[in-house]
């Protein structure tokens, strides 16, 4: 690309010869513009098309406001898909209807820039309805130029959402019939029902007076964006002589006579949104936010040494949602990790978590863990009867079941595993919070299996439980689970299902 210096030279010669030059080619024009292969000296738009005028008004405003370098022009799918032929600005061509979504992200990536979404009626008011409404509702600081010519131009004259009642198109061959296609869509009025937009105006390219009004509106919309005021939207009623089957003069007349009565020209919104309170967002460094501990944060606490008696140890925890089933699994997993093991935690997940039963699989291993899915757990922690009945048959032979109750259900058949009944809910209640039932079970599990150290559990509870009052109860709950095994099971003070006692 190169600027037309020849023409400038010619102009100076004319000036030197004493002629007054009133019109000259804009210095922005190029001899050859690479974005446009053919049609260097003309547009691809039809004679009398409104896009040419709209483009010119926007380009003039950008030039006058000195925004050319700062502008990112988002072109739609439709006749104006090739807007980048004419706008010597950064340009992003978007999928049909999605320009406001793309413009949203462009503006957020480049907040100081001017982002223009230029769309037709099919693009904006049909396929892209969701995107325009939501961009407007978020009050994105972008400018949308909505060219409404009541028809699909590029695809050859199909019905648009703004096609007038009775207007013929290739897909409404008998004229638009509200019983079948509904009524024309009034986008300005729709958007004006939202709180966020700063400026909404409808203009028309029907005659010179209205074109001058359009010029003003376009300029104002861009100024508001430049000043960071908010979402600005200008609907431009525009002629499409080719598809309408009219000559350019008739087409302009048709806007005045048919379109404007249906789409009244008006300023629908012209004020800055009242200031609102936004909650603050804390700012942190990436390592802080992602909980990445760097080495300069002092020495790590000395971990208790533990000789694990297993290669791999598998635990299934099951119960009602809300019994802390998933949390107990997570705590055990965290403990295993702190003791230097390979660990995995896999939950049952989904809607059943809230109301029904929940369970999770915990693997503790000295080696890389294959499947995190446990078929035959070494230990089942059953927090309720349903879980006991469901999962007890899966427990590895010689494994252990810890059941949250003082006795087994009467008709329950003892599996090939040992069962210990622990009234953990009652114990936790007495300590002050039923919520600690899972921690009582954890204390018992650790004491009975010695898979992980109680000291590790204390450390994990200290860091993972945030509520101070719960911390104290949890400490007691852990000890109570521990003591239950020591005092009641090992000495046989409470009769266990298999009569087992140390």
């Amino acid at each position: 690309m190169s600027t037309d210096t020849k023409l400038d030279a010619q102009a100076s010669e004319i000036l030197a010869a004493g002629y007054e030059v009133t019109h000259s080619k804009s210095p922005l024009f190029y001899d050859h513009y690479e974005r446009k292969a053919d049609l260097q000296q003309q547009t691809h738009y039809c004679p009398g098309c409104g896009h040419g005028i709209a483009h010119k008004l926007i380009a003039e405003a950008l030039e006058e406001l000195g925004l050319q370098d700062k502008t990112i022009f988002v072109s739609p799918v439709g006749c104006s898909v090739f807007a980048y032929y004419y706008f010597d600005t950064g340009n992003v061509q978007m999928a049909h209807g999605r320009a406001p979504a793309g413009a949203t992200a462009i503006k957020r990536a480049c907040p100081g820039k001017i982002v223009i979404s230029y769309q037709g009626d099919g693009d904006l008011a049909a396929i892209g309805t969701a995107e325009i409404i939501h961009a407007a509702n978020r009050g994105e600081n972008i400018t949308v130029f909505f060219v409404n010519n009541a028809i699909y131009g590029m695809t050859g004259g199909q019905m648009a959402p703004t096609t007038l009642v009775g207007q013929r198109s290739t897909t409404s061959p008998f004229g638009r019939r509200p019983i079948n296609e509904g009524f024309p869509m009034h986008v300005c009025e729709l958007i004006a029902s939202l709180e966020a937009p700063a400026y909404i105006e409808r203009v028309a390219l029907s005659d010179n007076k209205n074109i001058m009004k359009a010029r003003k509106a376009i300029r104002k919309a861009l100024e508001l964006q430049r000043d960071g005021v908010g979402f600005s939207f200008v609907e431009i009623l525009s002629p499409c002589p080719t598809i309408w089957g009219k000559d350019p003069v008739e087409a302009r007349k048709w806007i005045a006579e048919k379109m404007i009565p249906q789409f009244p020209l008006n300023v629908f919104r012209d004020h800055k949104h009242d200031p609102v309170v936004n909650n603050p967002v804390p700012h942190h460094t990436i390592p802080e936010t992602l909980e990445i501990q760097t080495t300069d944060q002092g020495p790590r606490p000395e971990l208790p040494k533990h000789q694990h008696h297993f290669q791999q140890f598998e635990i299934k925890v099951a119960g009602f949602g809300g019994q802390g089933v998933l949390l107990l699994g997570q705590l055990l997993t965290e403990m295993g990790m702190r003791e230097g093991l390979e660990v995995s935690w896999l939950p049952s997940y989904g809607p059943e978590m809230r109301s029904g039963s929940a369970h999770c699989h915990v693997c503790l291993s000295k080696n890389r863990i294959g499947t995190p899915l446990i078929s035959h757990p070494d230990v089942l922690v059953a927090m309720n009867e349903i879980s006991l009945r469901k999962f007890a048959p899966q427990v590895a032979s010689g494994g252990l079941i810890l059941y949250n109750a003082s006795r087994l259900p009467e008709d329950f058949e003892l599996p090939q595993a040992r069962v210990i009944c622990i009234p953990a809910s009652e114990i936790a209640d007495k300590l002050g919070s039923t919520k600690s039932t899972n921690i009582v079970m954890m204390g018992a599990l650790l004491e009975e299996t010695e898979c992980l150290l109680t000291a590790t559990a204390e450390g994990v509870l200290e860091t993972k439980v945030k509520k101070v009052e719960l911390k104290e109860i949890n400490r007691k709950a852990l000890a109570a689970g521990h003591d239950f095994i020591d005092h009641y099971v090992r000495v046989g003070a409470v009769t266990q299902p298999d009569g087992f006692a140390y």
Partner: protein
């Protein structure tokens, strides 16, 4: 230092470490934790999080942000990815780098929220319209959710192409130790981006080529890129393949079950091995051929009714019998189940 982390959260941590600045997405189970973690972390480190009105809007926001040169991502699960396909095709056509995560759930239709691997065709074979390819990375652990996300951003930028993380509900929901290392992300220059500056004023991001010859030339250019990527970027992992007589092939969560199945088979004297593709596109054909060169049978296991198995068969060109075992609906086979399948099929060889 290791931290216990959920797979879905690890993706966001990896993305931020990779220098990703924006997340646009829409919630869906079992991928919602990704949006939630992004909503929590991105604003705190000066990035952008926006919950879009739909997956369609989300992917087009990704397109817009990518056009400015930002590292950007989105995540969803099957139905959301179906909605995104047009946008992904546009990203590929306009050569915009971006990372999209699919935490696969059961389909078709509303299906369910349990894990499946049934989006292989949709992601690996394109899914959207036109001649294009996505990088597709298949993590099998929480650590890989983060590591492969970083790799996905690098591949996306290097090749100016979308990269997909294809994981399943289990890998997304499970927790494992995660080790992260912080260093400032090195971002490549993107002179093609549109940034609202004098230097980038000339730039146009577009996928439209009206003249058939122009479009063909564009497609050839993309194809050259894909050929180059196929040669350089295929990744895989093997386990006990050196002396294997039977080769198990699976990716993602399935590869974890298969790994345990290999151990079980070897305990019982059957020399089994595992081949795990890490990149599903480009598919590690050469490595698979090598791993399968001495085996008498290949068993492909997927959480689908047979999708990746087609690529395995294409790679092995009929030289080794390839059998398939699949579970669907959210059922993940147990180690015992795979073992019994393996034994039946090995016995049939005798």
């Amino acid at each position: 230092m290791r931290q216990l982390c959920k797979g879905n959260v690890a993706i966001v941590k990896g993305a931020i470490l990779a220098g990703c600045k924006a997340y646009y997405g829409y919630p869906i189970t079992p991928a919602s934790e990704i949006a939630e973690a992004a909503a929590l972390y991105f604003p705190q480190v000066g990035g952008t999080f926006l919950q879009a009105e739909s997956e369609i809007a989300a992917i087009n926001m990704v397109y817009g942000a990518a056009a400015t040169g930002q590292r950007v991502m989105s995540a969803s699960s099957g139905p959301g990815l179906s909605l995104m396909q047009e946008g992904i095709s546009y990203c590929a056509g306009s050569e915009l780098p971006c990372v999209i995560v699919d935490i696969v759930r059961g389909g078709p239709g509303l299906g369910n929220i349990a894990p499946e691997q049934s989006d292989y065709f949709a992601m690996v074979k394109g899914g959207g319209h036109g001649c294009y390819r996505n990088f597709v990375l298949a993590p099998a652990s929480v650590q890989e959710m983060a590591d492969l996300t970083v790799l996905a951003f690098e591949l996306a930028d290097t090749y100016r192409n979308p990269a997909i993380i294809l994981a399943d509900g289990f890998i997304g929901q499970m927790m494992e130790p995660l080790e992260l290392d912080y260093r400032e992300a090195k971002l490549p220059e993107k002179p093609w981006a549109v940034q609202g500056t004098h230097e980038t004023r000339k730039n146009v991001i577009s996928s439209i080529f009206l003249e058939p010859d122009d479009l063909e030339a564009h497609i050839r250019k993309l194809e050259a890129k894909y050929i180059r990527a196929s040669r350089l970027e295929a990744r895989h992992e093997t386990f006990e393949t050196n002396d294997a007589e039977v080769l198990l092939v699976g990716y993602g969560i399935t590869s974890r079950v298969l790994r345990s199945a290999v151990e079980m088979a070897r305990r019982e004297g059957l020399k089994a091995g595992l081949f795990r593709p890490i990149t599903l596109w480009p598919f590690p054909k050469e490595a698979l051929r090598k791993a399968a060169s001495k085996v008498s049978k290949v068993l492909v296991v997927e959480l689908s009714n047979g999708q990746m198995v087609e690529d395995v068969r294409l790679s092995l060109e009929g030289k080794v019998p390839v059998e398939f075992y699949g579970r669907t609906g959210g059922n993940v086979p147990s180690v015992e189940e795979i073992h019994s399948q393996l034994m039946q099929r090995v016995m049939s060889l005798v």
